[in-house]
Amino acid sequence: MSLSFITSAIQFIGRVALDVVSHLGRYSILSFRALIFCVVPPWRVRSYFRQMELVGVDSLMVVILTGLFTGGVFTLQIIYGFRMFSAESMVGPTVAMAMTRELGPVLTALMVTGRVGSAMAAELGAMKVTEQIDALTVMAADPVKFLISPRIIAGIVMLPILTTISDAVGVVGGYFVAMAKGLDPGQFAGRIQDMLVMDDIFVGLIKSGVFGFILTSVGCYAGFFCKGGAEGVGKATTGAVVVSYVAILVGDFVMTAYMF
């Protein structure tokens, strides 16, 4: 192995490391500024509600469908296994716990990332390349306060609400599948009340709030620092979705390890 190859490899690793640190630094500063601006007047309440509508209300249908079928298919999978041990009465609690602790928060976050995180990256990226962000700066309107703070707050507020809906719909989906597979209503629902505790729900909601922050802040960061023309916007959008997905799954693992 020649010395030049080793030097090139070290240079490459160094460049990548610097790049990662630089991105993390800029991301942290941007997110911190956006959160600070949320508590600094004047507030443009209309912008906050508009973003909540985009993140929450407009994502409702996709979240309901995802929750419904996830609960259904999960029930379908576990019902056979549980029957082998005559543990049909555990199907309901297992579906409820899986939905509230993991499937609801994670799948809701992934679906909203695909729908909203990518849209935020594309919208802000397009604003960046068409100089709309510069226009805001010249008009003495801080673009972080005006564009990013409302989006991040919308993510933090709306994801737990969407997750609650997803959890509920998932359990209902599981219920209908269980009925179709011959379980009686009491068998499915009876032990949910006994086994599902409020902590399962709260921890799931805390997770979803964190996911809401991740998907909106990553989407905004990708768009805000987007370079180049249409190609740059495309790369920013793809990058935002990939990074958000990975960050959500890693974040889920870390939070699960510490919270349960």
Partner: protein
């Protein structure tokens, strides 16, 4: 804030190995129409971004009267920008807002007027610019010329004391270019603002400018009145003003 005199002192800016501004020195006169001309890629837009504090230089400074924009704190820069208007080359209108909302935006954001007064003023500006009845139209429906006029209205709503125009007539037909040139002159007369126009449009430059600054090779090559440029014997000036055929104006 009265219309300021803007002084650029030894401004330098590089991008990697390429030095775009190599020590720009110029004065943009208060209440006058100042043109900045030069070849494409010559650093005009970079200079404009420095003038509006969208970029920071490697060295050098820009003063609005005696006030350095690069040493200003956030509050001072905010105060300055309230009195600044910039027309971007492509308009930079907000796609998610209607025409009226775009024009009203600076006043709405800074809450300088009551909502009713903002709407009245925005409608009046749109009327002055030949866009009466366009208040609720979507930006996507507008032609390039209409977008520029909406962007001009937006730049004017806070009655700025410094107005920057980045290639205001690029992409417009000759008739509309004439309208925009007249508008710049009229705005200058009406508001008394310091106007800075970055342009390739030599005809407009020689017609409406009070002062022209030619940027060449990263520096100000010549600064003077249109008359100074017309009578200049310098090859660089003649080539730029008259094109290759130095006997005929473009």
């Amino acid at each position: 804030m009265p219309a300021p005199t803007i002084v650029v002192k030894d401004l330098k800016k590089s991008f990697g190995e390429q030095m775009v501004l190599k020590g720009v020195n110029l004065t943009l006169d208060s209440g006058k129409i100042n043109f900045i001309i030069g070849r494409s890629g010559g650093g005009k837009s970079v200079l404009l971004k420095h003038l509006t504090a969208l970029m920071t230089p490697d060295s050098g400074d820009i003063f609005y009267d005696l006030f350095s924009i690069f040493r200003a704190n956030k509050k001072e820069l905010f105060e300055l920008r309230i009195h600044m208007g910039l027309l971007f080359q492509e308009g930079a209108l907000f796609d998610s807002l209607s025409v009226g909302e775009n024009v009203s935006f600076p006043a709405w954001y800074h809450r300088t007027m009551k909502a009713k007064d903002i709407k009245e003023k925005a409608s009046e500006l749109l009327k002055d610019l030949g866009l009466e009845g366009s208040f609720t139209r979507s930006v996507g429906e507008l032609s390039q010329g209409e977008k520029k006029r909406v962007a001009i209205a937006r730049a004017l709503i806070l009655e700025p004391q410094v107005l920057f125009f980045d290639e205001p007539t690029t992409g417009l037909d000759p008739l509309l270019s004439g309208v925009v040139d007249e508008l710049i002159t009229e705005v200058g007369k009406r508001t008394g603002a310091t106007i800075v126009v970055v342009s390739h449009d030599i005809a407009a430059t020689l017609t409406i400018a009070h002062k022209i600054n030619l940027i060449h090779d990263g520096r100000v090559f010549l600064s003077g009145s249109p008359e100074d440029f017309k009578i200049s014997k310098d090859e660089v000036v003649k080539e730029f003003i008259f094109g290759e055929d130095s006997n005929k104006a473009i």
